[in-house]
Amino acid sequence: MIKTDALIVGAGPTGLFTAHQLKLIGLDCEIVDNLDKIGGQCIELYPDKPIYDIPAIPECTGEELTENLLNQLKPFNIKFHLSERVDELKQDKNKWRVKTNKGTEFETPNVIIAGGVGSFEPRKFSPIECEKFENKTILYSIKDKKIFYGKTVSIFGGGDSALDWALELSEKSKVNLIHRRDEFRAAQATVDKVKELSNAGKINLIVNSQLKTVNGNGKLEEIEVENDNKETKKLKSDYALGFFGLIMQLGPIANWGLNLDKKTIEVDTEKFETNQKGIYAVGDICNYPGKLKLILSGFHEGALAARACFKLARPNEKYKFEFTTSSKTIKNRLGVKSD
């Protein structure tokens, strides 16, 4: 059981800056994120796209913004729990008990949800029959490539993940690579290599086709693909792998008893607190009259939520507002010399 003053759900820009604000006012915090890396949508959806509306930064990419925020957090030691999704949130007197899908447990008076549009999950195959093979012979990520050796593997998708795995697995497995069109979004060198192996008969490349259904008794045995002209083809297959990118799902947040409006959480604009005491929502996931889904709004919301956390984390102390330019206490926390 980890005890902390505040737990932040989401390691995007808002979550990172909220952590900075908490540490600045002397509170501990830890951060959980379902992605395997820090940065949220900035790193997953647009690492290379320039952003032009961060105050005082005329232009930066999603990746640069994340790096800068992490640099700003350097004076502080913040524990990140990546590749973990918060599943359970339960009240225990005036504390919250939080549990992740990996079994990590926290006890904290404050939970700040900075979850963007929810957690990133792989886009799955649409035929319903795929569900019964999921995580066994139908997969959306690879943990141990050795399970495919000597088997027939059908890989779906047109991006780098699909093509990289097709190349790698083609050495020791029989590979079918299926894509819905005949253009690929993977790196050109990878596409060229795939075409070369396809011409050499080492990869069975099937374009303009999608998965129609799957068959098998207990484990996957056969897949059926359909092309744009509605012609179907059956292929023997021990495994099917889908690499269609990630989608954002609100997920377990919907079960925490919070007032929701579509996919957003209703908050007040003083503390950014939800209808549950000690649970706050900041950034894209929160909603209030006039809400703007901008990164700069997330920073403001996080700063105010952090002050609200102080009251519950230090009930016997009084919060004193201080500037970073003049406060000796803050400078000590930052590890910089005071004048």
Partner: protein, 106 residues
């Protein structure tokens, strides 16, 4: 203004007037039409405003943006006539446009 009709997968149809200069996605969001999520808000960074456009309209609307097909690869049940509604511009030429919504977006 152009009349745009959004047809849900269950057949339910919504016709609204959308101001020129907006996108078909914005027309749906501003009129609370169910079935268009638009998670990324029009940045072409997700595929949750995915629609199908019938042949008779497909060639009349503006062409696909660069990279649009890459995002459609990641949509739910993409088809030949798939578009991202955030990339379809509303103009007098598209008055009467019908778009069909997929079973779901995520």
């Amino acid at each position: 203004m152009a009349k745009i009709t959004y047809i849900e997968n269950n057949g339910k149809s919504h016709t609204v007037e959308v101001v020129e200069g907006l996108t078909v996605m914005e027309g749906a969001v501003q009129n609370n039409i169910p079935g268009i999520d638009a998670d990324c808000g029009g940045g072409m960074a997700c595929a949750t405003c995915h629609v199908y456009v019938k042949d008779e309209w497909f060639d009349k609307i503006n062409k696909k943006s660069e990279g649009e097909d890459d995002m459609i690869d990641q949509a739910y049940e993409p088809k030949k006539n798939s578009r991202l509604s955030c990339q379809i511009q509303v103009s007098p030429e598209v008055d009467g446009l019908e778009v069909h919504l997929p079973v779901k977006q995520v």
